[in-house]
């Protein structure tokens, strides 16, 4: 008989095995992420930057609030009051003012930092809302779309409306809505939100359609598994990956769109620190006092680049190759810029 030269299980302490099993199980789950982060250094760079930026944003936003509550007066994390006029007019970057000052003596570095929580929150928040709203609608439109049923009718309506919204180039629509709603932070947030949700509808619907007809879903249905369970176990689980990728990439795009609206002059009011308004305010100073324009510009650039590096790498991790069947099922319009998604999805 064959010699058993492979190691055989001797008598093990079961408890020890289960703990080791849990640790190795965790390691198994994380391994693909660790592997890719190591394989693609850019993704790692993006991830680190994202973490740094997010933590900074949270601190800049929360520290004044917390200190106000606890100590009675706010302590700003920024070196100077962002709205504090001083006599250090139009100075270049120095040790005293890291990114220089503008015509009124405002410290650019402080202004840039103060704008960070707002812009980041807009990106994360608006994209998140769009994801939830659009994703929900897309789920409905994809899953309950049998013709001649109530679900089918609702799906049709959702799709028609989505099609119309998708016909607008995103920035144009956002600008038009922002202009009509008036200047202000909330109107411009609404404008971006209204522009963004349709892309998630298309995306989600596409994914749902693909999964709906996969053999294992059909098999589950035939075996009598309830629709709700199918929905949660199979459909949603498959949705999470692509949606997460697009969300990450979208954060950057939303920030840019929002700041563009402010740049055009119909967004955030002038008193609020925001990168787009800052670029617009200092636009003409590019040649004479370049740091004023380039600082907020660089801030946007770095933030968006961080999220893009991370999201782009994330996209590679989650191997979209298996989803290419969808190219012909769904018309190729999903997100602005995340165009690779449409043929991948």
């Amino acid at each position: 008989m064959a010699n058993e030269t492979r190691s055989s299980l001797g008598g093990d302490a079961t408890a020890e095995r289960s703990l080791r099993g849990k640790v190795s199980h965790l390691r198994e789950l994380l391994r693909p992420f660790i592997r890719v982060l190591r394989a693609n250094p850019l993704t790692l760079v993006g991830f680190i930057l994202v973490v740094i930026i997010s933590v900074t944003a949270v601190l800049v936003a929360l520290v004044p609030v917390i200190t106000q509550l606890v100590l009675g007066h706010p302590i700003l994390l920024t070196p100077y009051d962002p709205n504090g006029i001083s006599t250090d007019y139009s100075q270049g970057p120095s040790l005293k003012h890291l990114l220089g000052t503008d015509k009124l003596g405002l410290d650019i570095f402080s202004r840039v930092l103060t704008a960070l929580p707002l812009d980041l929150a807009i990106g994360v928040g608006i994209a998140g809302f769009a994801l939830l709203a659009g994703g929900g609608l897309g789920l409905v439109a994809g899953y309950w779309d049998k013709p001649r049923t109530i679900g089918g009718a609702i799906s049709a309506v959702i799709l028609r409306v989505t099609d119309v919204f998708l016909a607008f180039p995103s920035l144009v629509l956002a600008l038009a809505i922002a202009a009509s709603l008036g200047r202000g932070t909330v109107p411009s947030m609404l404008a971006v939100l209204l522009t963004w949700w349709p892309y998630y509808v298309r995306l989600t619907r596409g994914e749902v359609l693909a999964v709906k007809h996969r053999p294992y879903v059909v098999a589950a249905r035939a075996a009598g598994v309830s629709e709700v369970r199918i929905l949660f176990r199979h459909v949603l689980r498959n949705l999470i990956e692509p949606l997460l990728v697009y969300y990450t990439l979208d954060i950057g795009t939303v920030i840019i769109t929002f700041s563009t609206i402010s740049f055009v002059g119909i967004g955030v009011p002038l008193e609020v620190s925001e990168w787009g308004t800052m670029v617009e305010a200092y636009e003409q100073l590019l040649l004479t006092h370049p740091w004023t324009v380039l600082a907020p510009g660089a801030a946007i650039f770095i933030t968006v680049l961080a999220f893009s590096l991370f999201g782009d790498g994330l996209r590679d991790i989650l191997d979209p190759r298996s989803r290419r069947t969808l190219v012909q099922a769904v018309a190729p319009t999903t997100l602005p810029g995340q165009v690779a998604v449409s043929a991948e999805a």
């Binding site: 016909a167 008036g182 787009g276 680049l305």
Partner: protein
């Protein structure tokens, strides 16, 4: 086979018919945002120093006191009859402005697409060929940098700093108003038609910066898509067959692999059009290019309702037609696809 000419015509016809409800929807939504959501446009139109009477007169004149359905119906009928209204401030007819602005934008967008194709696609091939190695990383940083730069920032830097530094013009489409008649309103084409070759050269120079700005900032779309498609195609057997025929690496990559990868890449043409058109709003404004993007910018900021609606309609039609074009191209490039 569902692939002959008549199938194609039916397909295109069906899609054009689908255009109509979309355009209708676009009109409704734009109408909603311009007429319903906006508070008191007459305050802006009548001017900053208008008296209450003048504002009221303005309201009556533009029918803004009528019921909404009334306004909409009036607007719809005038639209369809060909009268696209005029800018409430100044009275310039919208149709006139758009018909001269749109071709200029078309020229800009086509130039950008050209740059994106010539630069972006080979970069995607290079990235895919060296996947995971330094060439790939370099390409990725390059196109993500373009992507991460807001259009306004890139345009401002190019127009104010880079352009003057390297001696390229940054304002308008010609150095001075050209002497010849503008037949098509596309600068280079008009100059060529008038056989004015120095002017054509001048027009070309003026085209370089804005088109490059638009292309470089959005290069990622083409590059990323090409890279992904190539990565899908390169492991396939027919690429091996091509190699085993003794063909050089270049021929295998471009004639065999890319040819198939382009099939998928072309599907993004529709979205690319939308993104580029969005970009023209800022680019044309900063580079003072007389196109429909700049017109849209002015219309939106200046509460030019008829102008805004008209521009948005034109944009929407352009996007839908680009989508249609990309589907048609897809069918042409892939012999296996049928027109359904």
């Amino acid at each position: 086979m569902g692939r002959n000419r008549s199938d194609l015509i039916v397909f295109v016809g069906k899609r054009l018919l689908q255009l109509i409800p979309v355009v209708l929807g676009v009109i409704v939504i734009t109408f909603f945002f311009t007429h319903v959501a906006t508070q008191n446009p007459c305050a802006v139109w009548a001017g900053a120093h208008a008296t209450a009477d003048q504002v009221q007169a303005c309201i009556v004149r533009f029918g803004l006191d009528r019921p909404l359905t009334d306004q909409f119906w009036r607007y719809l009928t005038t639209l369809l009859s060909g009268d696209w209204g005029a800018n409430p401030r100044g009275g310039v007819p919208v149709l006139l402005s758009i018909s001269s602005a749109f071709p200029a934008t078309l020229e800009l967008v086509l130039a950008s697409l050209f740059i994106m194709t010539v630069l972006g696609i080979p970069l995607g091939v290079i990235a895919a060929n060296g996947a995971g190695r330094w060439a790939d990383h370099l390409v990725r940083v390059f196109y993500l940098s373009g992507w991460a730069t807001p259009t306004y920032l890139g345009a401002v830097v190019l127009a104010i700093a880079v352009g003057p530094a390297i001696g390229l013009p940054t304002k308008g489409d010609f150095a001075s108003t050209p002497p010849f008649a503008r037949l098509t309103h596309m600068s280079v084409l008009d100059a060529l038609l008038a056989l004015d070759f120095p002017a054509a050269g001048d027009a070309l120079l003026h085209l370089i910066l804005p088109a490059s700005a638009l292309a470089l900032l959005n290069l990622g779309i083409a590059t990323r898509m090409t890279r992904t498609s190539m990565l899908d195609v390169l492991p396939l057997d027919f690429v091996k067959t091509a190699r085993m025929k003794g063909l050089s690496d270049f021929v295998v990559l471009y004639k065999h692999a890319l040819r198939n990868a382009l099939i998928s890449t072309v599907t993004i043409l529709g979205i690319t059009a939308g993104v580029l058109l969005s970009g023209t709003v800022v680019i044309e404004t900063i580079f003072q290019w007389p196109g429909i993007g700049a017109y849209a910018y002015d219309a939106i900021k200046g509460y030019n309702f008829p102008g805004t609606i008209a521009v948005v309609i034109v944009f929407a039609i352009a996007v839908v037609i680009s989508n249609l074009l990309s589907d048609v191209l897809y069918g042409i490039l892939d012999p296996r696809v049928e027109w359904r």
